[in-house]
């Protein structure tokens, strides 16, 4: 079990320390056709005697890490990377994403040096902005569902779970369509004289992403808390009633302590989940105003076509989530051992 979990991580770590590239050569090719002969200068992979391409790998130490973190002073791509793939355009990592609105925001057009930290900053903002709402609204919904009679409760639960069931990309798209220019909500807002171009500004785009995060994660918190509410010890509640506790005191002294382990659980899961925020960023802004650490890895992998540097970004991401979760994990560990 531990091996299964560790092998991909170690593999990624191993990759992140290396740099491989095919050995390329520049050749001049003569093409003869009906209208004469043409000479084209092109690059192609060198082949050895047996016709196989030659791959050169080297150990680069922590260089990828430094580059992701922007600490590498001469942040130029190593020449070996130059010819990899015809579509590779080694460039500023943010250029592709920010092409449409280049220069608008710090994060969008920042130097490579800022890239990782700005991604990390938004990811953390996202986590801290969504978590209290997810926990709070989830608990309120659960308490609300508890009050309903059986028939309405089923309807309520189904409706409340929908955002959780919908595929993240589709969910993000539906938010996007609601808020795009001339969409339903901007139209309604314009009726009362408020005009906001939601996708065109950093603060509103980030707000939308946070909104999406809350909307998408609340059902999970809701269903976990609702399940927890079903198992609140009735005897203790009634004992508290007779002991003289008011409704709020019963909630405070019996229900909340009973739900406490679930709060920690939802917190843990939500932080892990929020740390990987990706879909709303690619759908809502294409990384223009905001990047998350997950998006950054994706960007390095696909736009820069550098799996080794992407590995380094992944490892940093994992390290980040580990740091975030350590306090909670320690708490859980202590509780489990304490019993």
């Amino acid at each position: 079990m531990l091996g299964l979990m560790a092998i991909p991580l170690l593999m990624t770590f191993y990759l992140s320390l290396r740099q491989c590239a095919l050995e390329m050569e520049t050749v001049t090719v003569e093409q003869s056709g009906p209208f004469g002969t043409q000479q084209i200068v092109t690059q192609r992979a060198k082949v050895d005697a047996s016709g196989k391409t030659i791959e050169r790998c080297e150990y680069v130490g922590l260089r990828h890490y430094l580059r992701v973190l922007g600490l590498d002073r001469d942040a130029t791509d190593p020449p070996t990377n130059m010819g990899e793939g015809a579509n590779a355009t080694p460039s500023d990592p943010s250029a592709a994403g920010a092409a449409t609105v280049a220069g608008n925001t710090a994060s969008g057009s920042g130097k490579p040096a800022n890239e990782f930290f700005s991604a990390l900053r938004f990811t953390l903002t996202y986590i801290f902005a969504t978590t209290p709402f997810v926990l709070g609204i989830g608990l309120l919904l659960a308490l609300g569902a508890q009050q309903l009679n059986t028939r309405w409760r089923a309807v309520f639960i189904t409706a409340a779970l929908l955002p959780f069931i919908v595929t993240p990309v589709v969910a993000a798209l539906s938010i996007k369509w609601l808020f795009r220019d001339n969409g339903l909500i901007p139209y309604l807002l314009s009726q009362i004289g408020v005009q906001v171009f939601w996708m065109a500004e950093a603060w509103s785009a980030q707000l939308l992403i946070v909104l999406y995060g809350v909307w998408h994660s609340v059902p999970f918190a809701f269903i976990v808390f609702f399940a927890g509410l079903q198992s609140v010890p009735q005897d203790s509640l009634e004992a508290a009633t007779i002991d003289g506790a008011t409704k709020f005191q019963r909630f405070r002294y019996v229900t909340v302590p009973h739900l406490m382990p679930l709060f920690v659980f939802v917190l843990l899961i939500h932080i892990m989940d929020a740390y990987r925020v990706f879909e709303p960023i690619i759908v809502l802004t294409q990384g223009a105003f905001t990047t998350s650490v997950q998006y950054l890895t994706y960007h390095i992998l696909l736009q820069e076509s550098n799996p080794f540097k992407a590995s380094a970004a992944s490892v940093l991401t994992i390290a980040g989530v580990a740091v975030l979760l350590i306090p909670l994990l320690v708490k859980t560990y202590r509780e489990q051992r304490g019993t």
Partner: protein, 380 residues
């Protein structure tokens, strides 16, 4: 300490147009300091009755009086009652001390009041050295003692106990039973105790209220309930092993059922009756010997009984006998008539093989007669 008066209290649940009667109108008055046990099988309404007194359930009709107040409209916390639950109802996240202190704390009392009160209550149930523990770290008996202490600490005028010993193992139950009895003797608080265990009822109660099918079957002292049952339900429910109840005919002072004949009744009643006899009032003897004595003896005899099973309990031997099988001599056994079983409590030294023929002797003076139709006791 207070009197409790239930006046025509009933409880009906309505769900989706269907009515469920939880409690038929019942009246009960409980004297100050009395220990009342509500006894009955599950679903008989005993817990409902208690919950109505506690205020956790509201009565559909009728009035509940505690002391000189009608408490129908009062919140549970204002009724001055304390309750002990079957599964303890402790607050798992609090220490034993905090659990016991909770009713006082919630009423806004100061530390200087709470501290000595908790110590006193804990000492009464011998919990003094466990105050820092969490309920999780306690045994079942200790948890129930915490629940008791939490009930005591407020000095309420009524204790309500809802099957407090049901979750404990047999040995603990006996010791906790004496604990509760002693506690009641010390505090002299009016107590309503719900149980389905007749031994708890017999040992603890000043008076027992036997309930079944949402109504009271009989109210009386344990002695009354055991020796003077009002109907077949009470007769069959109280006592272990249960009283034998045999259907048969009474004519001219003689009860007869297949394979069984009991003369010597003074009742002038005739017709279908149910005969009740306690296992300890049945004498077992070897068949041949009894048959010879039968002629001269005035006591009733069931000859030709066969041992169905023989159970040793240590203090006695329980003999379960088929009495109807005697009819086999007539060629066939009708299932209806042929299957009556009697349980007899014989001396612990006696042993009978299964299938062995035995004779049973019954003294008519120790039998109870019930009307077959109404199941009520027939008194001569």
């Amino acid at each position: 300490m207070a009197r409790i008066e239930l006046k025509e209290v009933s409880r009906i649940w309505e769900q989706a147009g269907k009515q469920t009667v939880g409690l038929k109108p019942m009246s009960l008055s409980i004297a100050e300091g009395e220990f009342i046990v509500l006894l009955g099988p599950s679903g008989c309404g005993k817990t409902t009755t208690m919950r109505i007194v506690a205020g956790l359930e509201s009565a559909t009709s009728g009035e509940v009086w505690i002391g000189d107040r009608c408490v129908n409209t009062l919140e549970p916390k204002d009724r001055d009652v304390a309750m002990v639950f079957q599964s303890y109802g402790l607050y798992p996240n609090m220490t034993v001390y905090a659990n016991i202190a909770f009713p006082l704390k919630i009423r806004g009392m100061g530390r200087e009041v709470i501290e000595p009160a908790v110590q006193r209550a804990a000492a009464l149930v011998e919990l003094g050295d466990l105050l820092d523990r969490k309920p999780k770290a306690l045994s079942g008996g200790q948890r129930q003692r915490v629940a008791l202490a939490r009930a005591i600490v407020r000095r309420p005028s009524v204790f309500l106990m809802d099957e407090p010993l049901s979750n404990l193992d047999a040995k603990l139950r006996v010791s906790m039973r004496s604990h509760i009895k002693h506690l009641h003797h010390t505090l002299k608080v009016t107590t309503i105790y719900v149980t389905h265990d007749q031994i708890e009822a017999m040992t603890l109660a000043d008076r027992v209220v036997v309930m079944s099918k949402a109504e009271i079957q009989q109210i009386g002292t344990p002695d009354d309930i055991y020796n003077n049952p009002e109907n077949t339900f009470v007769a069959g429910f109280v006592g272990s092993p249960a009283m034998n109840l045999l259907e048969g005919q009474l004519q001219d002072g003689v009860f007869s059922a297949p394979g069984l004949r009991v003369p010597g009744f003074t009742s002038g009643h005739r017709g279908a009756v149910v005969l009740g006899v306690r296992p300890e009032d049945l004498a077992v003897s070897v068949a041949s010997e009894a048959a010879s004595n039968a002629a001269e003896s005035a006591t009733a005899v069931a000859n030709h009984a066969r041992v169905f099973s023989c159970e040793l309990t240590g203090e006695a031997t329980l003999v379960i006998a088929d009495v109807g099988n005697a009819q086999t001599q007539q060629g066939q056994v009708s299932a209806q008539l042929g299957k009556q079983q009697l349980t007899a409590k014989a001396d612990k030294s006696q042993r009978y093989a299964i299938g062995a023929p035995i004779a049973l002797t019954i003294d008519a003076q120790k039998c109870f007669l019930f009307d077959a139709a109404s199941q009520k006791r027939l008194r001569s």
